[in-house]
Structure formats: structure tokens, C-alpha cells
């Protein structure tokens, strides 16, 4: 059943991707109407702030980590072997 469901979604990948984009857009739109009195800082009051934060955080983590890794931190698997 699980496999069938996954295969069903994979067969309709373009539609699934379009739905995902629609969800992302909906999230930002909904955020305009969300009560923000729980927010701790002024910047959080901008609609879609956390969407931007999440996206930039993800991109920054990947790019900075990979850059860091390729500065000599990532090395061959038998590095510690005698």
C-alpha cells in the first residue's frame, strides 16, 4: 500500500511539484493574516519573514558547509589507516 501510494505520486511528479509550490505560496499568504502578538522581535511582523529565513538558512547551511568541507576537511576514507 505504501509502495503503491509512493509510485502513484511519483508517476504524477509535475502535479505534485505544482501542489507543493501552491502550498508554499499559501503559507506566505496565510501569514499575512496570522495574529503576531506572540512574536518576539519587530522583524517577525513582516509577512513571510520565516519563509525567507528558512530558505536562506537552508541555502546558507548547504553552501557554507560544503565550502568548509572542501577546504581540506573532507578527505579520503582510508585517511586514518596505517
Amino acid at each position: 500500500m505504501i509502495v503503491d501510494l509512493i509510485d502513484y505520486l511519483r508517476d504524477r511528479l509535475p502535479t505534485v511539484i505544482r501542489c507543493c509550490y501552491a502550498v508554499l505560496a499559501a503559507l506566505v499568504i496565510i501569514d499575512i493574516f496570522v495574529d503576531k502578538h506572540h512574536a518576539h522581535t519587530w522583524i517577525e511582523h513582516y509577512p513571510g519573514f520565516w519563509a525567507l529565513f528558512g530558505f536562506i538558512a537552508c541555502v546558507a547551511i548547504i553552501i557554507i558547509s560544503k565550502w568548509f568541507g572542501h577546504q581540506g576537511i573532507m578527505t579520503r576514507e582510508d585517511y586514518y589507516d596505517n
Binding site: I2, H38, T41, A51, V59, I61, S65, M74
Partner: protein, 594 residues
Amino acid sequence: MITDTWLHPSLILICGALLLPFFKGMARRTFLILIPVLTFINVWQFSPEGMWGAVNFLDWQLIFGRIDRLSQVFAYIMSLMCIIGTLYGLHVEDDLQHIAAWTYVAGSLGVIYAGDFLVLFLFWEVMAFSSVFLVWFRKRENSLAIGFRYLLVHTAGGLILLAGILLRFKETGGDISFVHLDVTNPSLYTYLIMAGFMLNAAVPPLHSWLPDAYGEATVTGAVFMCAFTTKTAIYALARGLAGMEILVPFGVVMALYGVVYAVLENDCRRLLAWHIISQVGYMVAGVGIGTELAINGACAHAFAHILYKGLLFMGCGSVVHMTGKSKFTELGGLYKKMPLTFVFTLIGGLSISAFPLFSGFVSKSMIIAAGFEKHIYWAGFLLTLASAGTFLHTGLKVPYFIWFGKNNCSQETWDKAADPPWNMQAAMFIASFLCILIGSYTPYLYKMLPNPVEYHPYTAYHLSETMQILLFTALGFFLLLKKLAPEPKISLDLDWFYRFGGRGFLWLAKKPIQFVDSCVGEIYRVVGLGSLMTVSDFWSWFDWHGIDGVVDGIARSVRTLGDTVRRAQNGQMQFNIFWAATIAACLLITYVFS
């Protein structure tokens, strides 16, 4: 339930461990489940708050059972995890693995209930010396070396802790009680005790032992290890050092450090290990913030973490168990072969990522909220950033590169891949159920926390914030998927220093020190020994001919005289008269003529 006596739960586990080899077949399996269940029931129902298990030892009163809300929440989840872990490893025929795991859990519970530093130290060491077997029992080529590294690092940590305990004992005039230390005016001993705890919590730079050992432990051993050592250390920090502000930057660095290394990691269990460091970073920061909400958050997150991290290690462990492979570059596309394992691991991934309705959502946010409420904004934002990284790896990278993505499996790996035996699935099911229960029904966890809870995670703002962060992280993941493709590499870390430091020491001992030692030996042989022999020869000669000569000469003279006198006294009267008369005549003639 109120009782007059209290039985230490560690005692049940240790007795169980000792008796286990006497059981065989079905009875053994029943016994394997019974002992952790009894331990859990004992913790849950028969451990009333108070001080129990006081033992007089030398001048001290040792407390084995300090039971309050803080110790109870940790003991509850640890004994529960022991049931799940043992069920997961039910198929393991080797008794020693179960014995090591139970002794390890007994050590953790001993620390949790310890009322003084001596008992704490005793169980602290029990944990280290029993858990190392869970690495050694993997029996791979490098298991022995990894185990010894793990043991040496923990022994060093134990000694630092002991040094702190002894200094405190001296400074306070004999106080060994394990209570909250003065964090506003910390002494040297406060820092030493903190460092000892921090090593077990894997706080950088004292963290490299964790991915090293957890990535290489046995499949079932890693499930135990990921739950106990670091969370016991969090308990100890929360008990002794809540509000120690230096822990906030340490915790934030930890949370980010684990995320960075997880990007580079190619081994699924090592990736999960890096995320332990990241998640424990939240708890360390929570302890450092120190408010009631933050301590609640640290405890809640430890509780949730034990379950979802155990679940993730069980999911990836199932892949290792079935296929023998753990590297992303040797896996991929397995959803058709291991669908249930995929679902369980995904639930673990969504829980650690703090998705609404999953456990991390109701625990992690407490710590971040506590940071914002105390106006430590930088910590709040950086911890939120790290949570994006958590979803990126554990929620997306692990499931994607094992169950989807490019199929890197060899034919042999593909043929072997299948969902694991029933007991492993059952354990994953229970952990999954609890992850969802905690996230969906907050009173279950919140009622157990040490402080009263006035926190509501399910607000519209928090939901909107979380969903935006998570789903836009997912967007970034899929856009940069090619950059995240696993590479068959390892990443150098701070263990480089002691691994090469150890080799450097060995080289120093083998080459220069041994060379100098050989030279000294040769010089001694040629110069020292030769001259010594000459001097000895002289003294030997002197002794023989000089001292012995004199002594022996006197002795010989006395003997000769005695002999002569003896022969002179032979009892023949005529000779005596002859000699007496002769001598008398000689004397008379001499007198007359002189």
C-alpha cells in the same frame, strides 16, 4: 503509589543481566522483555518522591535514591527506552550484548537517582565501561581501536569530573552532596565538574567521541547509546549547573556544529550522531538559559529526543542489519524493498524536525521561546537556523538518499534489502506511536516536567512560523539537491589531534626515545659496565688478598701456634721433663755467663 521501601531500578537490571545466561529459548525471550518492563513499572509506579537508599560509608552518608520531579522524568523515559531497545534487539542471541546494554542503562539510572557526587561518579564510570562493549561487540576490524578511543576519552572526562568533586570536597569542608552549584560565583571546581559533564554531553571541543563510536557500534548497541550517555549528562547539567550562562554559547555552537558536519557526512548513522550533537546543543543552551521554561524545555526535549533519536537509529540500523551497508553512496531507492522502515524513519525525521503533531514541535520550541523571553535573541535565531538544518538532513537527506534518490545499491545489497524482523518493527512502531502521542497530546509530557507548564505550542503564529521554516527549507533542499549528493569521503574533526597525537606519541616512543634508550644501554655496556667490572675486579682482589689475607693470616698463625702447642702437649712425661730440663739448663747457663 506510596510505599515504605524503594528498590533501586538499576538493581533489577543488574540482577537480570546476571541471570540472563541461565535462560534459554522462549523463556529467555520472555525474560528479556520482563526485566525492562519490571524496571519501568518500578520507576513509574513504585518510586515515590523523597530520599531513599541511604548507605553509611566511612564518614559519609551516600544517597542512592534522590527522587523528585527532575529525576523522575529522566528515569521514566530511560526505563521506557530500555524496553524499546531490548525489544529491538530481541533477536540478538549473544547474551553479552544484552548484559552490556542493561548494565549501561543501570549506570544511567544510577546517575539519575544519585544524591551525592560519589554515587554519581560510581555510576558514571559504570556507564562508560559497559557501553564500550556495545562498540567492541561489532567485531569489525576497527572496532577495538574505536572502543579504546571511546574508553580513553571517557576515562579522561571521568578524571576531570573527579578532580572537580575532590576540589569541591576540600573547599566546602567535606560536602559531597550533588546539588545545584553556585553558578554566579563559579570556582575552579565548578568548571571542572562542568567540563566532566560537558564531555558526556558531547559539547565541542569535547565531542568527537560521539560520531566516532555511535557510527560504529552494533546495530542494537547504537540504539541504546544514542539515548543514554548524552541525556544523562543533560540531567546532571540541569541538576547542578542550571543558569550557567556560558552554556548558552556552547549549546548554540553545538547545535550549528552538528549541522555543518551532517552536510558533509556520507554514513547514515554517523549523520544521525552529528544530529545528536546538534539536538543536545538545544538542551545545553536550555540549561544555560536556566529559567523555569528553559529547564522544562531541556527536559522535554531530552524526553522527546530519546524516543525520536532511538527511532531514527532503529530505522537506519534496520538498513544496516538487512543490507550490511550504511553509506549513502552504497544505498538508495529502497522504498520498494523497505517501505515500513521508511515510514518509521520518516516519523522520526519529522519528530526531530519539529513538525506540528510530532514530538519535537512541543519540546524544541520551549527552549527557543525561553531564549527569546530572556531576550537572548541571537541564541533564539541561531537555534531556529539550526532547526532548518535538522529538517534538511534528518527529515530530508536521510530518507531521500536511502529510500529514494539514485540507486547506488549493488545487486547483493538490493537482494538482501527487506523490512527487518517483527521485533525490530514492533520496537519502531512503539517509538513512532510515542513520538506522535507526545506531539499531539501535550499533557502526556508536560505533566511530567519538573516545573509547572504555562506554555502553549499550538498557537497560530507558532504553527505558521514552523511550517514556513520547514517547507521553505524543503524548497532549498530540492533546489540544491545536486550539491547535497553524497561523496565517499570522511570529514576530519578535532579527534584528528588525539588520533595523530597518539600516533605521534607512539612514534616518539618507538623512534627517538627507543634510540636514546639503546644508546644509553650501549654506552653503559661499553663504558659503565667495563669500568664497573674493573673496579669490581680490583676490590675482589683486594678483598681476597688484602682483607682476607690479613684475617686469614692471623687465623693461620693462631692455628699453627695452637697446633704446635697441641703437639707439644702430647702427655709423654719423659719428653716434658727433657724439654723443661733443657730449657732450664739453657736459662741457667745464659744467666751464669751473662
